[in-house]
Symmetry: C2
Subunit: 131 residues, 2 copies
């Protein structure tokens, strides 16, 4: 966690919300990152996402099984989702995230396209099963 | 949605799970993307995340207020989180996502570091409020 705090301090010095992450595999740090949302002008550039991208690059696989993430702040829902997508099995965080983002969002289905979109996926998985 | 389907078809041809996205602002497509998880070997490379990154780059802001996302598949929790982080206000999807990822994940707090991590954030927001 000390290394994650060092990362958060880097974010702070650059005027970013200070959040830092390290990802560890077999007791070795394989990725370090800090929040770069402002400098990259990119909503996905939370420290966790950047660290996962680095760790995937290092491992050469999108699966980070057996990796542990140390993060100074409890992850938001985007980052929790990314942690699950990357198959990270353990997360240790420092302080609590009291406000996860809650904004009005309209999400609706266009059922006209349902079959076409669904068929694309069905055919893909069918083909893969048969390989 | 037709354009999103064209993107999903591109993914299909490259052996990726076929999901496609476009982001529209003021009736103009500002970002197109398809799932690249396998080719990039990166768990965060879902179509939605890639499209958000492109749209942020185009708008030169991490805030995509007023943008609408068209996506062939109902977004997973990572992508829903990213949509909210990016302030996208409307999402239209084609087919339903029946399985969101559910894997065993241990998430725990290391309270020894709570104060240090929390102070970093408190000082940052305090300073920003005073500016």
């Amino acid at each position: 966690m000390n290394e994650a705090i060092v990362q958060a301090e880097k974010a702070l010095r650059k005027g970013e919300v200070p959040v830092g992450v390290v990802i560890v595999k077999d007791k070795k740090i394989i990725a370090r990152a800090y929040n770069k949302r402002e400098s990259k002008k990119d909503a996905t550039c939370h420290a966790e996402i950047l660290a996962i991208r680095k760790a995937c690059k290092y491992i050469k696989d999108w699966r980070l099984n057996g990796c542990v993430m140390y993060v100074t702040l409890e992850p938001c829902s985007m980052c929790m989702g990314a942690i699950k997508q990357a198959r990270i099995s353990k997360v240790i965080y420092g302080t609590n995230n009291e406000k996860d983002i809650e904004l009005p969002l309209v999400i609706s289905q266009n059922t006209m396209y349902k079959e076409e979109c669904s068929n694309l996926l069905r055919d893909f998985f069918k083909k893969r099963r048969n390989q």
